[in-house]
Symmetry: C2
Subunit: 188 residues, 2 copies
Protein backbone atom coordinates (compact mmCIF):
# COMPACT_ATOMS: atom_id res chain seq x y z
CA UNK A 1 0.00 0.00 0.00
CA UNK A 2 1.51 3.30 -1.16
CA UNK A 3 1.79 6.09 1.36
CA UNK A 4 1.72 9.72 0.39
CA UNK A 5 2.56 12.60 2.67
CA UNK A 6 -0.25 14.99 3.52
CA UNK A 7 1.55 17.69 1.58
CA UNK A 8 1.66 15.50 -1.53
CA UNK A 9 -2.03 14.66 -1.22
CA UNK A 10 -2.93 18.33 -0.82
CA UNK A 11 -0.99 19.25 -3.96
CA UNK A 12 -2.45 16.33 -5.93
CA UNK A 13 -6.05 17.21 -5.08
CA UNK A 14 -5.38 20.90 -5.70
CA UNK A 15 -4.29 20.06 -9.25
CA UNK A 16 -7.62 18.36 -9.91
CA UNK A 17 -9.70 21.03 -8.17
CA UNK A 18 -8.15 23.86 -10.19
CA UNK A 19 -8.41 21.91 -13.44
CA UNK A 20 -12.12 21.40 -12.76
CA UNK A 21 -13.34 24.59 -11.03
CA UNK A 22 -10.61 27.20 -11.35
CA UNK A 23 -9.02 29.45 -8.73
CA UNK A 24 -12.26 31.05 -7.50
CA UNK A 25 -14.20 27.81 -7.78
CA UNK A 26 -12.61 25.76 -5.01
CA UNK A 27 -12.03 26.40 -1.30
CA UNK A 28 -9.82 25.18 1.52
CA UNK A 29 -12.92 23.40 2.77
CA UNK A 30 -13.28 21.42 -0.49
CA UNK A 31 -9.62 20.48 -0.36
CA UNK A 32 -9.66 19.57 3.34
CA UNK A 33 -12.60 17.20 2.88
CA UNK A 34 -10.90 15.45 -0.05
CA UNK A 35 -7.71 14.83 1.93
CA UNK A 36 -9.40 14.16 5.27
CA UNK A 37 -7.85 16.95 7.33
CA UNK A 38 -9.07 20.24 8.77
CA UNK A 39 -8.66 23.48 6.84
CA UNK A 40 -6.23 24.80 9.44
CA UNK A 41 -3.85 21.95 8.61
CA UNK A 42 -3.64 23.17 5.02
CA UNK A 43 -2.37 26.52 6.28
CA UNK A 44 0.49 24.69 8.01
CA UNK A 45 1.83 23.53 4.62
CA UNK A 46 0.61 26.44 2.51
CA UNK A 47 0.13 29.64 4.57
CA UNK A 48 -2.07 31.33 1.96
CA UNK A 49 -4.13 30.19 -1.01
CA UNK A 50 -1.68 31.99 -3.30
CA UNK A 51 1.14 29.85 -1.86
CA UNK A 52 -0.86 26.70 -2.51
CA UNK A 53 -1.71 27.64 -6.09
CA UNK A 54 1.84 28.77 -6.85
CA UNK A 55 3.19 25.37 -5.79
CA UNK A 56 0.46 23.64 -7.81
CA UNK A 57 1.41 25.54 -10.98
CA UNK A 58 5.10 24.79 -10.42
CA UNK A 59 4.39 21.09 -9.97
CA UNK A 60 2.09 20.97 -13.02
CA UNK A 61 4.66 22.80 -15.12
CA UNK A 62 7.51 20.55 -13.99
CA UNK A 63 5.55 17.44 -14.94
CA UNK A 64 4.70 18.80 -18.38
CA UNK A 65 8.31 19.85 -18.92
CA UNK A 66 9.58 16.38 -18.11
CA UNK A 67 6.95 14.82 -20.33
CA UNK A 68 7.49 16.81 -23.52
CA UNK A 69 11.27 16.82 -23.11
CA UNK A 70 10.96 13.06 -22.90
CA UNK A 71 9.54 12.86 -26.41
CA UNK A 72 12.30 11.57 -28.70
CA UNK A 73 13.07 14.40 -31.13
CA UNK A 74 14.45 11.95 -33.69
CA UNK A 75 11.04 10.30 -34.08
CA UNK A 76 8.91 11.15 -37.14
CA UNK A 77 7.15 14.50 -36.48
CA UNK A 78 3.71 12.87 -36.75
CA UNK A 79 4.65 10.38 -34.03
CA UNK A 80 5.96 13.17 -31.79
CA UNK A 81 2.65 14.98 -32.28
CA UNK A 82 0.75 11.84 -31.34
CA UNK A 83 2.70 11.52 -28.10
CA UNK A 84 2.18 15.20 -27.32
CA UNK A 85 -1.59 14.81 -27.77
CA UNK A 86 -1.96 11.54 -25.83
CA UNK A 87 -2.51 13.00 -22.31
CA UNK A 88 -4.87 15.62 -23.70
CA UNK A 89 -7.00 12.89 -25.22
CA UNK A 90 -6.80 10.94 -21.95
CA UNK A 91 -8.35 13.90 -20.13
CA UNK A 92 -11.51 13.88 -22.24
CA UNK A 93 -14.56 13.21 -20.09
CA UNK A 94 -12.78 13.84 -16.79
CA UNK A 95 -14.03 17.43 -16.52
CA UNK A 96 -10.43 18.56 -16.29
CA UNK A 97 -8.87 21.17 -18.56
CA UNK A 98 -5.29 22.45 -18.56
CA UNK A 99 -4.48 23.95 -15.16
CA UNK A 100 -2.84 27.02 -16.68
CA UNK A 101 -5.74 27.60 -19.08
CA UNK A 102 -8.17 27.50 -16.15
CA UNK A 103 -6.08 29.93 -14.08
CA UNK A 104 -5.89 32.22 -17.10
CA UNK A 105 -9.60 33.03 -16.68
CA UNK A 106 -8.93 34.12 -13.08
CA UNK A 107 -5.66 35.88 -13.90
CA UNK A 108 -6.88 39.28 -12.62
CA UNK A 109 -7.01 37.77 -9.11
CA UNK A 110 -3.52 36.22 -9.24
CA UNK A 111 -0.22 37.72 -8.02
CA UNK A 112 2.70 38.33 -10.36
CA UNK A 113 4.60 35.34 -8.92
CA UNK A 114 1.97 32.94 -10.26
CA UNK A 115 1.57 34.77 -13.57
CA UNK A 116 5.28 34.39 -14.26
CA UNK A 117 5.17 30.61 -13.95
CA UNK A 118 2.03 30.56 -16.13
CA UNK A 119 3.76 32.56 -18.88
CA UNK A 120 6.75 30.22 -18.78
CA UNK A 121 4.40 27.24 -19.13
CA UNK A 122 2.62 28.63 -22.19
CA UNK A 123 5.91 29.62 -23.86
CA UNK A 124 7.39 26.18 -23.21
CA UNK A 125 4.50 24.49 -25.02
CA UNK A 126 4.46 26.99 -27.89
CA UNK A 127 8.20 26.63 -28.39
CA UNK A 128 8.04 22.85 -28.44
CA UNK A 129 5.32 22.95 -31.11
CA UNK A 130 7.20 25.62 -33.09
CA UNK A 131 10.34 23.46 -33.22
CA UNK A 132 8.24 20.50 -34.31
CA UNK A 133 6.84 22.54 -37.20
CA UNK A 134 10.31 23.81 -38.10
CA UNK A 135 11.68 20.29 -38.32
CA UNK A 136 8.71 19.14 -40.41
CA UNK A 137 8.87 22.11 -42.78
CA UNK A 138 11.58 20.74 -45.16
CA UNK A 139 9.46 17.61 -45.64
CA UNK A 140 6.55 19.65 -46.98
CA UNK A 141 5.94 20.45 -50.64
CA UNK A 142 4.37 23.86 -49.89
CA UNK A 143 5.21 26.41 -47.17
CA UNK A 144 2.98 26.75 -44.09
CA UNK A 145 0.15 29.32 -44.43
CA UNK A 146 1.84 31.19 -41.54
CA UNK A 147 5.36 30.89 -40.01
CA UNK A 148 5.98 27.98 -37.56
CA UNK A 149 6.01 30.27 -34.50
CA UNK A 150 2.57 31.66 -35.36
CA UNK A 151 1.21 28.26 -36.31
CA UNK A 152 2.38 26.96 -32.92
CA UNK A 153 0.51 29.75 -31.08
CA UNK A 154 -2.69 29.03 -33.02
CA UNK A 155 -2.59 25.25 -32.56
CA UNK A 156 -1.68 25.54 -28.87
CA UNK A 157 -4.44 28.09 -28.26
CA UNK A 158 -6.98 25.89 -30.03
CA UNK A 159 -5.91 22.88 -27.95
CA UNK A 160 -6.19 24.85 -24.70
CA UNK A 161 -9.64 26.13 -25.66
CA UNK A 162 -10.79 22.69 -26.76
CA UNK A 163 -10.19 21.26 -23.29
CA UNK A 164 -12.10 24.12 -21.67
CA UNK A 165 -15.06 24.03 -24.05
CA UNK A 166 -15.02 20.23 -24.06
CA UNK A 167 -16.92 20.41 -20.77
CA UNK A 168 -19.69 22.48 -22.40
CA UNK A 169 -20.19 20.07 -25.28
CA UNK A 170 -20.24 16.34 -24.65
CA UNK A 171 -17.83 15.65 -27.46
CA UNK A 172 -14.11 15.82 -28.24
CA UNK A 173 -14.81 17.35 -31.69
CA UNK A 174 -12.86 20.50 -30.98
CA UNK A 175 -9.85 18.69 -29.55
CA UNK A 176 -9.80 16.41 -32.58
CA UNK A 177 -10.18 19.36 -34.95
CA UNK A 178 -7.06 20.97 -33.46
CA UNK A 179 -5.30 17.60 -33.49
CA UNK A 180 -6.25 17.14 -37.15
CA UNK A 181 -4.76 20.49 -38.10
CA UNK A 182 -1.61 19.69 -36.09
CA UNK A 183 -1.06 16.36 -37.81
CA UNK A 184 -2.51 17.63 -41.09
CA UNK A 185 0.27 20.13 -41.66
CA UNK A 186 2.92 17.52 -40.82
CA UNK A 187 3.98 15.00 -43.49
CA UNK A 188 3.35 11.41 -42.52
Amino acid sequence: MKTHSVREQLLEHTLVLIRRRGFNGFSYRDLAELVGVKTSSIHYYFPSKDDLVLEAVREYSARTKERIHGIDASLPPAEQARQYLAPLRAGVGTGQACLVAMLCADVLDLPESIRQVMRDYVRMNEQWLARLFERAQPLRSTPYPVPPEQLAKVVYGALQNSMISGRLFDTSERLEAAAALLTGVIPA
Copy 2:
Protein backbone atom coordinates in the same frame (compact mmCIF):
# COMPACT_ATOMS: atom_id res chain seq x y z
CA MET B 1 -28.07 63.41 -21.58
CA LYS B 2 -28.88 59.78 -22.18
CA THR B 3 -30.91 57.95 -19.59
CA HIS B 4 -30.68 54.22 -19.07
CA SER B 5 -33.02 52.20 -16.93
CA VAL B 6 -31.53 50.56 -13.86
CA ARG B 7 -32.14 47.18 -15.45
CA GLU B 8 -30.16 48.21 -18.55
CA GLN B 9 -27.29 49.50 -16.41
CA LEU B 10 -27.21 46.29 -14.38
CA LEU B 11 -27.02 44.18 -17.52
CA GLU B 12 -24.38 46.40 -19.10
CA HIS B 13 -22.08 46.28 -16.07
CA THR B 14 -22.67 42.54 -15.68
CA LEU B 15 -21.36 42.02 -19.22
CA VAL B 16 -18.11 43.78 -18.32
CA LEU B 17 -17.78 42.08 -14.92
CA ILE B 18 -18.14 38.59 -16.39
CA ARG B 19 -15.80 39.37 -19.27
CA ARG B 20 -13.17 40.48 -16.75
CA ARG B 21 -13.56 38.21 -13.70
CA GLY B 22 -15.87 35.34 -14.69
CA PHE B 23 -18.94 33.95 -12.93
CA ASN B 24 -17.24 33.21 -9.60
CA GLY B 25 -15.15 36.38 -9.73
CA PHE B 26 -17.84 39.03 -9.30
CA SER B 27 -20.55 39.61 -6.69
CA TYR B 28 -23.84 41.42 -6.30
CA ARG B 29 -21.89 43.85 -4.17
CA ASP B 30 -19.46 44.67 -7.02
CA LEU B 31 -22.37 45.19 -9.38
CA ALA B 32 -24.42 47.27 -6.94
CA GLU B 33 -21.52 49.66 -6.33
CA LEU B 34 -20.95 50.15 -10.06
CA VAL B 35 -24.61 51.03 -10.70
CA GLY B 36 -25.15 52.94 -7.46
CA VAL B 37 -27.94 50.84 -5.93
CA LYS B 38 -28.15 48.37 -3.04
CA THR B 39 -27.72 44.66 -3.63
CA SER B 40 -31.36 44.00 -2.69
CA SER B 41 -32.44 46.12 -5.66
CA ILE B 42 -30.62 43.77 -8.02
CA HIS B 43 -32.74 40.90 -6.72
CA TYR B 44 -35.86 42.85 -7.73
CA TYR B 45 -34.82 42.68 -11.42
CA PHE B 46 -32.93 39.39 -11.28
CA PRO B 47 -34.11 37.13 -8.43
CA SER B 48 -31.00 34.93 -8.52
CA LYS B 49 -27.48 35.24 -9.87
CA ASP B 50 -28.30 32.53 -12.41
CA ASP B 51 -31.16 34.70 -13.71
CA LEU B 52 -28.82 37.66 -14.06
CA VAL B 53 -26.14 35.69 -15.88
CA LEU B 54 -28.66 33.97 -18.16
CA GLU B 55 -29.98 37.36 -19.30
CA ALA B 56 -26.41 38.62 -19.76
CA VAL B 57 -25.51 35.69 -22.02
CA ARG B 58 -28.72 36.16 -24.03
CA GLU B 59 -27.99 39.86 -24.51
CA TYR B 60 -24.36 39.20 -25.44
CA SER B 61 -25.39 36.49 -27.89
CA ALA B 62 -28.08 38.68 -29.50
CA ARG B 63 -25.58 41.48 -30.09
CA THR B 64 -23.04 39.15 -31.66
CA LYS B 65 -25.73 37.58 -33.84
CA GLU B 66 -26.83 40.96 -35.15
CA ARG B 67 -23.24 41.97 -35.77
CA ILE B 68 -22.03 38.96 -37.74
CA HIS B 69 -25.30 38.68 -39.66
CA GLY B 70 -24.76 42.32 -40.60
CA ILE B 71 -21.53 41.47 -42.42
CA ASP B 72 -22.24 41.59 -46.17
CA ALA B 73 -21.76 38.03 -47.45
CA SER B 74 -21.08 39.34 -50.97
CA LEU B 75 -17.93 41.13 -49.82
CA PRO B 76 -14.52 39.53 -50.53
CA PRO B 77 -13.88 36.83 -47.87
CA ALA B 78 -10.79 38.65 -46.61
CA GLU B 79 -12.85 41.80 -45.98
CA GLN B 80 -15.52 39.78 -44.17
CA ALA B 81 -12.79 38.30 -41.98
CA ARG B 82 -11.46 41.78 -41.24
CA GLN B 83 -14.91 42.93 -40.09
CA TYR B 84 -15.35 39.81 -37.97
CA LEU B 85 -12.03 40.45 -36.23
CA ALA B 86 -12.51 44.21 -35.68
CA PRO B 87 -14.31 44.06 -32.29
CA LEU B 88 -11.88 41.40 -31.02
CA ARG B 89 -8.99 43.72 -31.82
CA ALA B 90 -10.85 46.60 -30.18
CA GLY B 91 -11.02 44.61 -26.94
CA VAL B 92 -7.24 44.30 -26.64
CA GLY B 93 -5.98 45.98 -23.46
CA THR B 94 -9.42 46.30 -21.88
CA GLY B 95 -8.97 43.17 -19.76
CA GLN B 96 -12.14 41.79 -21.31
CA ALA B 97 -12.34 38.40 -23.03
CA CYS B 98 -15.35 36.80 -24.70
CA LEU B 99 -18.17 36.44 -22.18
CA VAL B 100 -18.93 32.87 -23.25
CA ALA B 101 -15.27 31.86 -23.12
CA MET B 102 -15.04 33.21 -19.56
CA LEU B 103 -18.20 31.38 -18.46
CA CYS B 104 -16.83 28.21 -20.04
CA ALA B 105 -14.20 28.01 -17.29
CA ASP B 106 -16.98 28.12 -14.65
CA VAL B 107 -19.31 25.82 -16.59
CA LEU B 108 -19.46 23.20 -13.80
CA ASP B 109 -21.26 25.79 -11.63
CA LEU B 110 -23.80 26.81 -14.29
CA PRO B 111 -27.34 25.44 -14.83
CA GLU B 112 -28.36 23.77 -18.08
CA SER B 113 -30.40 26.84 -19.15
CA ILE B 114 -27.23 28.93 -19.36
CA ARG B 115 -25.17 26.15 -20.95
CA GLN B 116 -27.68 25.86 -23.78
CA VAL B 117 -27.34 29.53 -24.74
CA MET B 118 -23.56 29.19 -24.52
CA ARG B 119 -23.55 26.21 -26.89
CA ASP B 120 -25.73 28.11 -29.36
CA TYR B 121 -23.31 31.03 -29.22
CA VAL B 122 -20.25 28.91 -29.98
CA ARG B 123 -22.00 27.05 -32.81
CA MET B 124 -23.18 30.33 -34.35
CA ASN B 125 -19.62 31.62 -34.55
CA GLU B 126 -18.18 28.33 -35.79
CA GLN B 127 -20.83 28.06 -38.48
CA TRP B 128 -20.26 31.61 -39.69
CA LEU B 129 -16.53 30.92 -40.03
CA ALA B 130 -17.17 27.56 -41.70
CA ARG B 131 -19.36 29.17 -44.36
CA LEU B 132 -16.71 31.83 -44.94
CA PHE B 133 -14.11 29.10 -45.54
CA GLU B 134 -16.51 27.22 -47.82
CA ARG B 135 -17.08 30.28 -49.98
CA ALA B 136 -13.34 30.99 -50.14
CA GLN B 137 -12.41 27.40 -50.99
CA PRO B 138 -13.03 27.57 -54.79
CA LEU B 139 -10.70 30.58 -54.96
CA ARG B 140 -7.79 28.55 -53.56
CA SER B 141 -5.25 26.65 -55.64
CA THR B 142 -4.81 23.90 -53.02
CA PRO B 143 -7.36 22.32 -50.64
CA TYR B 144 -7.42 23.28 -46.95
CA PRO B 145 -5.27 21.08 -44.68
CA VAL B 146 -8.54 20.12 -42.90
CA PRO B 147 -12.23 20.52 -43.95
CA PRO B 148 -13.83 24.00 -43.50
CA GLU B 149 -15.91 22.88 -40.49
CA GLN B 150 -12.81 21.67 -38.63
CA LEU B 151 -10.78 24.70 -39.67
CA ALA B 152 -13.56 26.90 -38.30
CA LYS B 153 -13.45 25.14 -34.92
CA VAL B 154 -9.68 25.51 -34.70
CA VAL B 155 -9.60 29.18 -35.69
CA TYR B 156 -12.53 30.06 -33.42
CA GLY B 157 -10.96 28.19 -30.49
CA ALA B 158 -7.63 29.93 -31.04
CA LEU B 159 -9.38 33.33 -31.13
CA GLN B 160 -11.29 32.60 -27.92
CA ASN B 161 -8.12 31.47 -26.15
CA SER B 162 -6.14 34.45 -27.44
CA MET B 163 -8.51 36.89 -25.72
CA ILE B 164 -8.24 34.97 -22.45
CA SER B 165 -4.46 34.59 -22.49
CA GLY B 166 -4.07 38.15 -23.79
CA ARG B 167 -4.49 39.28 -20.19
CA LEU B 168 -1.55 37.12 -19.08
CA PHE B 169 0.80 38.46 -21.71
CA ASP B 170 0.92 42.18 -22.46
CA THR B 171 0.70 41.61 -26.19
CA SER B 172 -1.84 40.76 -28.89
CA GLU B 173 0.57 38.27 -30.51
CA ARG B 174 -1.75 35.32 -30.07
CA LEU B 175 -4.80 37.16 -31.39
CA GLU B 176 -2.81 38.26 -34.41
CA ALA B 177 -1.44 34.75 -34.96
CA ALA B 178 -4.99 33.39 -35.15
CA ALA B 179 -6.02 36.34 -37.34
CA ALA B 180 -3.04 35.66 -39.64
CA LEU B 181 -4.07 32.04 -40.10
CA LEU B 182 -7.68 33.09 -40.72
CA THR B 183 -6.73 35.58 -43.43
CA GLY B 184 -3.77 33.46 -44.58
CA VAL B 185 -5.97 30.61 -45.77
CA ILE B 186 -8.29 33.03 -47.59
CA PRO B 187 -7.26 34.35 -51.01
CA ALA B 188 -6.92 38.14 -51.17
